[in-house]
């Protein structure tokens, strides 16, 4: 991703994050979060992770944030009344993250991670030749790679249903459990006789 675009989306994302923490109204916080996640999704796309970026928008801004907003409105939450956050808390909330960032900077100072290798048409065509043999010649992956475009979704799908098949099933069960848990939690408590 070109550097100016990167900074643009990074600033959008961080501004959204700060918005979450700074906004008094929970609804405003939720909207800040949407902004933040849109910026994040753009960064994902910039990293050639198109599918994850789309997923981020669909799942988070589409489903999760709606759920948040729904709950906030359901509970009819007002602004926090005693907004004057105590100074020690504020200080702790600033110093601890700051220390973390400082430690991160210190790590970056001593290490050189280098730049990304650019993904170009030629590199993708070259990558096609290195694909494992069990991917058939007439598959979408090979076709698109030969044309010089990245078949992101196809590659993820291929990986998901071969190598990560078992974790996928487990995640399915987890979702089922979560569903059942939500239902049982939302049921009205009937006091025992």
């Amino acid at each position: 991703m070109p550097t100016p675009l990167f900074y643009l989306f990074a600033v959008i994302m961080l501004a959204g994050g700060i918005g979450i923490v700074a906004m008094r109204n929970p609804v405003a916080s939720a909207f800040s979060m949407i902004v933040s996640f849109i910026g994040l999704a753009a960064l994902f796309v910039g990293l050639n992770a198109y599918f994850v970026g789309i997923l981020q928008i669909l799942v988070y801004t589409g489903a999760v944030m709606v759920l948040f907003l729904f709950i906030i409105m359901l509970l009819d939450l007002k602004k926090e009344e005693d907004r004057e956050t105590k100074t020690p808390t504020l200080l702790a909330g600033i110093i601890i993250p700051l220390l973390l960032v400082l430690q991160l900077v210190a790590v970056f100072q001593t290490s050189d991670l280098g730049d990304f290798k650019p993904i170009t048409k030629d590199s993708l065509i070259a990558a096609e030749a290195q694909l494992p043999n069990d991917i058939p010649a007439d598959s979408q992956i090979r076709k698109e790679l030969k044309q010089g475009s990245l078949p992101d979704v196809n590659l993820i799908g291929q990986k998901l249903f071969t190598e990560y098949n078992f974790p996928l099933q487990v995640i399915g069960i987890l979702l089922l459990v979560a569903t059942v848990g939500c239902v049982s939690l939302s049921k009205k408590l009937i006091p025992k006789a």
């Binding site: 702790a92 909330g93 601890i96 973390l100 430690q103 790590v107």
Partner: protein
């Protein structure tokens, strides 16, 4: 006929009676017990004189150490089996009458079978470990039978006392067995022989003798035997007069002959002899002032056991075993006779409330007198021959012990005739004694049979449990020993006639010395005091340790430390506030990153 039947039969009988023949079928239980004992006697007679050792099965094998359950048959054990099963059978028969209306007849006969099993085990044991197991088992059956009427506090206490006193002795016994194992490398009697001058042998002998002190009620553990008279009288006859208490003497004889009679160190042998002699003297003195017919006999048993132990200590176990053999018959006779008297007098045991019983109960009376004559060593009776052997042994070794033995003989005559004069002659002093009737046949027959055995046992040489072709000296030759024996008898008889003939109450009752005898030299009181003082002392020390060191410093200190730090954390750190936790959590992460990445 396999000798193991001797062990199996009583065990089967005990199990069958205890588990299948409860009180409803008590008569069957009694019958089973008696028949099994009769079968045991038959088997013992068949095995008489056989000499071999059989191994029944291998019990423990660790490396080259092994313990077998085996049977050792020789004259010593087969002769002892005749005593055990013979008297056992007569006691069973007597019990059929004596315990006829008892509420727990089945339990009684079951325990009697258990005792027969255990006693057989001691007698036939081929090694010390097996003997020790059965040694404890007779202790158990003795406990059960003394406490047969456990509803009575005195019986329950007596049972406990017997068990605990035996524990003290058995502790030493076990250490002694281990020492012998260490010295000779074997616990099997056949492989135990040692050479003279073996180090630690003297201590080992004395420790093994501790077992005999407990079981044979020698000083200072004699206190349980008189109290054991709380049990049914046939039990006293079988266990606490004829067989179990003699097991100590039997064990010592077996032990002495196994290691070799010549290698026993002089010092330990003399210690044993002196303990026997002193026990015999003290018990005889105590017996002179007892009023309970069974207590008199109990102290008499103590005294005679002292004789036997003295013989063992004088390194003449054969003499001791011969006395054991004759004593078993006449003392069982005396006890069963006293049982018959007690039965006839409606459980009255005080001799001063009896009197004139000879006329009313001629069978009991005359057999009792026969027993008394044997016990007091009237020339020609069994007691005379066996006591003479011991007196000879004492005379050869120590004149002092010989003197004690003669004094004891005189005292024996004195207290036994005191008993005869008060209980069997004179006038009835109580309505129970006045209405006393002769006991039924089933109790009379054992008395007569025992009287026959008491008179003729020395002449049945092949029955005598002894070692190496022992032939008792039968016959009367006038020499110093015989003279002393007869003189002692005459002295004792004269004393009894002068003091007790036709007397209504004890003329010596007020005497201060007699009071000491009557109170058994205050042994019980002394033990009670000793144990109390000792226990209080230990308890005080333990209490201090527990209260201040363990509770105050160790446990209390730890709890206070944990509580204190816990309180600090609870009050200061556990605020329940999510922000605080998040803050601490973040600080922790930073610390971890710092420690892992930057250090």
């Amino acid at each position: 006929m396999h000798p193991s039947l001797l062990l199996i039969l009583p065990l089967v009988s005990a199990v069958v009676i205890h588990f299948f023949l409860q009180q409803k079928r008590a008569s069957i239980a009694a019958l089973v017990g008696t028949l099994v004992t009769a079968a045991t006697l038959g088997l013992s007679l068949m095995l008489l004189g056989s000499e071999n050792s059989t191994t029944l099965f291998n019990w423990i094998q660790v490396g080259d150490f092994k313990i077998d359950i085996g049977l050792k048959l020789d004259q010593l054990s087969t002769g002892m089996m005749i005593v055990v099963s013979g008297i056992g059978l007569l006691v069973h028969v007597f019990s059929l009458g004596y315990m006829k209306d008892d509420e727990a007849k089945a339990r009684y006969f079951g325990n009697l079978s258990l005792f027969m099993f255990s006693m057989t085990g001691i007698v036939l044991a081929s090694n010390f470990i097996m003997m020790f197991i059965f040694w404890e088992l007779v202790g158990l059956s003795s406990y059960l039978l003394i406490g047969h009427w456990y509803q009575k506090d005195s019986a329950a206490d007596a049972a406990k006392k017997a068990f605990l006193s035996n524990r003290v002795g058995d502790f030493g016994f076990l250490i002694g067995i281990l020492m012998i194992w260490g010295i000779s490398g074997s616990v099997v009697f056949d492989e135990m022989s040692l050479t003279a001058g073996t180090p630690f042998l003297a201590a080992a002998v004395l420790l093994v003798f501790c077992g005999a002190i407990g079981k044979s009620a020698q000083l200072p553990l004699h206190v349980w035997l008189p109290d054991a008279m709380e049990g049914p009288t046939p039990v006293s006859a079988l266990i606490h007069a004829a067989t179990m208490v003699a097991a100590g003497v039997y064990m010592m004889a077996r032990f002495f002959y196994s290691v070799g009679i010549d290698v026993i160190p002089e010092c330990s042998a003399m210690t044993i002899a002196w303990i026997g002699g002193i026990t015999s003297l003290f018990a005889a003195l105590m017996a002179t002032q007892q009023d309970d017919i069974k207590k008199i006999l109990a102290y008499s048993t103590l005294s005679q056991l002292g004789y036997m132990v003295m013989a063992v200590g004088l390194v003449d176990p054969n003499a001791g075993m011969f006395h054991l053999y004759t004593h078993a018959w006449f003392k069982a006779l005396l006890f069963l006779g006293s049982g018959a008297v007690i039965y006839a007098c409606h459980h009255e045991q005080n001799i001063w409330k009896m009197g004139g019983l000879l006329k009313k109960m001629p069978v009991t009376g005359w057999t009792f007198i026969i027993g008394t004559l044997c016990l007091t060593a009237v020339p020609g009776t069994s007691g005379f021959f066996s006591k003479e052997g011991i007196l000879h042994a004492a005379h050869d070794k120590s004149h002092f012990l010989f003197g004690i033995a003669v004094v004891v003989a005189a005292l024996t005559t004195f207290y036994m005739f005191r008993l005869i004069f008060i209980a069997f002659l004179g006038k009835a002093k109580n309505k129970h004694a006045e209405h006393a009737k002769e006991v039924p046949l089933i109790m009379g027959v054992p008395l007569i049979l025992l009287a026959v055995m008491a008179l003729f046992s020395p002449f049945l040489g092949s029955l005598i449990p002894a070692v190496d072709g022992f032939h008792p000296h039968i016959g009367i030759e006038m020499n110093l020993v015989t003279g002393c024996s007869i003189g002692a008898f005459i002295l004792g008889l004269a004393g009894a006639i002068v003091l007790y003939k036709e007397k209504e109450s004890d003329p010596l009752a007020g005497n201060a010395v007699m009071k000491v005898f009557r109170n058994k030299f205050y042994f019980d009181e002394f033990y009670a005091k000793l144990i109390k003082v000792f226990q209080d002392l230990v308890a005080a020390v333990v209490h201090f340790l527990d209260e201040f060191v363990i509770n105050g410093l160790v446990v209390g200190g730890l709890t206070r430390l944990a509580q204190g730090t816990g309180n600090i954390f609870r009050a200061k750190m556990q605020t329940g506030s999510l922000q605080n936790y998040a803050f601490l959590f973040g600080a922790g992460i930073i610390l971890v990153i710092y420690l892992t990445v930057f250090l």
